[in-house]
């Protein structure tokens, strides 16, 4: 939480998604599932250096995004999506990425 991490994604056909992603990508794309903990309910931002499709799953259901946009120029952040989340352990589902490597950050929106 609050720090970027380098994710290694799996080929899409090998990913067993909890929910069908909004945009699942083709057989040659990459995806993955990651758990993250929210200590305090509030708005959180998922930032990445790719353009993968992101779903946040709480209690088995995809949370509707609250906002989305690009990162600052030259920041390397190409996509940001925000969600209003309760506290607890949630799932970040990533789909339709063009490469196995993806840098992702989950951070509270202040």
């Amino acid at each position: 939480m609050g720090a970027a991490f380098d994710a290694t994604l799996a080929p899409t056909p090998k990913v067993d998604y909890v929910l069908e992603p909004g945009k699942p990508g083709g057989s040659v794309s990459f995806g993955g599932l990651f758990a993250f903990d929210v200590a305090k309910a509030g708005r959180y931002r998922i930032a990445q250096n790719g353009r993968s499709w992101v779903d946040v799953i709480v209690d088995g259901k995809a949370v509707a995004s609250a906002a989305h946009g690009h990162g600052p120029e030259c920041s390397g952040i190409t996509k940001m999506v925000e969600y209003d989340l309760p506290s607890g352990r949630h799932l970040l589902q990533i789909a339709a990425n063009g490469e196995a490597a993806l840098t992702v950050m989950v951070a509270p929106v202040r």
Binding site: K23, P24, G26, S27, V28, S29, R51, T78, A96, G98
Partner: protein, 305 residues
Amino acid sequence: MLAAGAGMAKDSGGSAEAQVALGRRLFHDGDLSINGTLSCATCHDPRHSFADGTRAHPGAHGEPGLRNVPSLVNVGAFSPLTWGNDALTTLELQALVPIAGEDPVEMGMKGQEAELARRLSANGCYRKLFKAAFPKARGRIDFATVSTALAAFQRTIVSHETAWDRATSGGAPLPEAAVRGEAVFRGGAGCASCHSGREFTDLGFHRLAGEPASAPNGDFGLARVSGRSEDRGRFRTPSLRNVALTGPYLHDGSAETMADAIVRHGIALSPGDAADVEAFLDALTDTAVTTDTRYARPGKTCEIS
């Protein structure tokens, strides 16, 4: 430049139903892009009336997009088909532009016809669907059969269930503001001189009054393909069906709202008339087409057993 007739797969023995089912599956398949990240539906999202809500969608590797994604509602009635190319007269021809075009790169599949066939033929459902759709070609998988199936599916995306359609066919009348707006639209504002007919487009190429010959993104419009200086800044009139769902607007998506787009047409409307025209444009909305299951991504169960 695509050769005349490219992308046309004539196979009169094929099942039209199978071509549509195949086209729908292909439309939603990311394997039509080089790295699996983009399907046709990524940009032509049914939930956005087959547009995507951004100014211009980047290509598969993040290449900058050039033009705003047009809606595909009633696209089977249109020819020519795109913002700036009067030679793209059929959906079969047009499909190859995003798939294999380079100006700009979108799905990035130029030279990848064999790779596309490899990916799709690995899927048993596709093998069955291609055989049913193109029996004379023995289910061949190539750019021509793919684009023909995509065209067959796109021709099924039809929407004439708006408040305006109902009112003009004797149903419930439009709200008063929309009635006034239609009068302005068809009268003094002159909108209907280009946004004409049942689909609200004359399919012609025009340059808006006050707009530059070269847009800020460097797009010369029709002149990009014609080479004629008089075609600079000329873009094809878009249909206005579901316009309320397909912002941002204009060829480069530079008008964020319908009000912005109206102003960019160089038409001086009073605030009241502008609001009325927007009320009329809202009456061209059919939300049912955005949730119609016939256009949604198909499930894993194959259409052919």
